[in-house]
């Protein structure tokens, strides 16, 4: 391809990547080192609020935000260095937790960042093999059914993937929360009073179940497409040589699918490390939070209308570093394969 043609093809996506990904990232990187502080003045005022029939008046010291000539609050931009990162990671507490008489991991669970990290990692690493396995099993099963059934089967298996994530999460939640019909059914079957949303681990299970249910169709479609290209000559000679079904699967099909298994794993790792919809859909904030949700919660205005932009920035930088670390092994493998095949 000519250099010019190449540039023209690549330019639009490059420009979009720069404006919508690279530049914001740089801005977030810098914002994580600054804090925006309002200026307050202390005044003693009598303030009155309505009681019933009479007013309740108290003399109090009020901190009022200073406003400039245009009525906008005066904001100081202060360089705080790594302060926001320190507040997220709390190194002193970590040191104390793992000191001689510390509580270890249990103490870390009370720091939001580690709590989120623990859940995010478990969620990512537990759902990954399940998604791959379920996708593969579905693909092989559909590949082995009679032709006339394949269309409807593919359609049905794809349905979960089409549903908007938050809606899917909400519907699973409604099936189980309180006296949801599935909780009722479970109670009827086991004879115990079941509350799926009263403790963390059951919510966590539901969230993982939901994610696997939602994403497995994607793995299925990719694997199913690849199954159509398995070399039939190799397959037939394997049958002639007396290879069992299992041997054919492990020695021919899986090696053939390997590049795609890595592809699906990459996508899934990136997606599930950013787990967010589940936390919102299942309202699991009290029990389980994810790293993305943590960033979101810092960005939500608190009761005074303030957003913790600096901590949110720091937290998203850390999330990004986490994704990169997680992807390195897989990327290295792809890179090696790439070099070999060249």
């Amino acid at each position: 391809m000519k250099g010019k043609t190449f540039a023209m093809f690549v330019a639009p996506s490059l420009i979009l990547m720069l404006t919508f990904i690279a530049l914001p990232l740089v801005s977030v990187f810098f914002q994580s080192f600054y804090q925006n502080r309002q200026q307050f003045t202390q005044t003693t005022v009598e303030s009155c609020t309505p009681g019933f029939l009479t007013q309740n008046c108290v003399t109090e010291v009020r901190n009022t935000a200073k406003l400039d000539a245009n009525g906008k609050p005066i904001i100081d931009r202060v360089f705080v260095g790594l302060e926001s990162y320190r507040q997220l990671l709390q190194p002193e507490k970590v040191a104390a937790a793992f000191a001689a008489n510390g509580e270890g991991w249990k103490a870390l669970e009370t720091i939001d960042f580690y709590r989120a990290l623990r859940f995010t990692l478990t969620f990512t690493l537990v759902t990954l093999p399940l998604v791959l396995l379920l996708g593969l099993v579905l693909a092989i099963a559909v590949d082995n059914t009679v032709k006339s059934l394949r269309g409807p089967l593919i359609f049905v298996s794809l349905l979960p993937f089409i549903i908007t994530p938050v809606i899917g999460a909400l519907s699973i939640r409604w099936l189980f929360i309180g006296d949801g019909i599935l909780t009722r059914a479970l109670e009827w079957m086991t004879g115990h009073d079941i509350a799926m949303f009263a403790q963390g681990w059951t919510i966590e299970l539901l969230m993982m179940f939901y994610r696997v249910w939602h994403v497995a169709p994607f793995a299925f479609v990719v694997f199913y497409a690849a199954l159509q290209t398995v070399d039939q000559d190799t397959m037939e000679s394997a049958i002639v040589d007396g290879a069992s079904r299992w041997e054919r699967l492990t020695h021919i099909v899986i090696p053939h699918l390997m590049p795609l298994i890595i592809f699906v794993s990459l996508i899934h790792l990136m997606d599930s490390y950013r787990v967010f919809d589940e936390v919102i859909g299942f309202s699991s904030e009290a029990h389980r939070i994810s790293l993305q949700w943590l960033t979101f919660s810092y960005l939500t205005p608190d009761e005074t209308g303030n957003r913790s932009i600096s901590r949110a920035s720091a937290s998203s930088m850390l999330t990004m570093i986490g994704i990169v670390l997680l992807l390195i092994p897989l990327l290295m493998r792809t890179w090696r394969d790439h070099k070999v095949s060249r």
Binding site: Q38, T49, A65, G71
Partner: protein
Amino acid sequence: MMIKKTLAAAAFSLLMSVSAHAACAFQNTVPIKSLTAGFDAWKAVTSAMAECGNVQAELDQNFRTKQPAAFAANPSLYHIGGVANGTLTPLLNAGTIRPLDDLVAKYGKNLTPNQFIRVDGKIMAIAMMVNAHNFMYREDIFKELNIPVPTTYDQVLAAAERIKASGKVQYPLGGTVKAGWDLANDFNNMFVGFGGTFVKPDNTPSINSEAGVKALEMIKRLTAYMDPEYLASDSTFVQKQFQQGKIAMANLWASRAGALDDPKESQVVGKVAMAAAPLAMAGGRPSTTLWWDGIVIAKNISDAEADAAFRVAMEGLDEEMVKANNDAAVWLVKGFVPGRLAMGAIASANGGAPNYASTTSMGLIHSAIGEKIADFMTGKLTAQQALAEMEASYLVKAKEQGLVK
């Protein structure tokens, strides 16, 4: 789809203009938008405002997070905002609402001085109702089991034990203890009941105290009688639990009482009675903070719009509206006759319940409590640890915002 929407909008505006002649003193021609909470009182006020025509009301229980940004836009996305003590703070800090003194002088002849929310001498909001948590209980069940109406939380626990034993309802108690803001608000109520103060004069926190520990422990004891999924239980959830006869008592916003007597949604019409919020300790104050709800007018709109918005709001807050919706709230508007449902809130107020302060420090500590309190409820932290964490979180926020050096 588009056609459908347009048709619906046309039909709607037709309805509006018909009723516009019905009850509003003037014909409003300036398009006005309002953003308020969604409980019954706001439904009453906004539909009274809509009678003037050209009013688009948005009732949204998530207004708290939406409002600061929407009002900071220029021009502001809404003209009228519904606020309470807590939600006034972010608007004041950002300077996005306008002083109302001249508008009050022009159109506010029916207002009483009790309704003016003054900050630094200027009227910044007009209150329309007071709100507070008060004790609601199923009178029929209490009578049947011969349980006296509890006035302290120890009696609430005793009553809960007896109701649990009787098996009359699924769970004896309901509570607005959803992780986050609601649970923190419950803590605040209990904390003032135990005589605590939130911050010292220099804006450093003071919740890690005996009162704090006692408040946390009492909330935990109460939750033992609630639906085990209580960490997702907000005001609407408790209201529904009442309406469906699943609980026998709860401390709930007075503004929710009206819905319990609404035969369209409630199975317990006339059976729920109101009392003052219970005392946390002998000789203390009722365990609740007093709130007001009212309206503010955005700063980033033209004076003509502000004029129209205020006039419309005054139509929404008139005697006629109160007469038609007497039991929807504890109104501060002329013409209100306190009914059966208002008794709890009035008893709490007269018992000396303190106001919820519209201050930055209160807002910050409320947020900090909301972040950490769930960890105490789920057993990850002890009471002292949780309170220490709350204080630490408060200090981080206060420093970040510049309140504490």
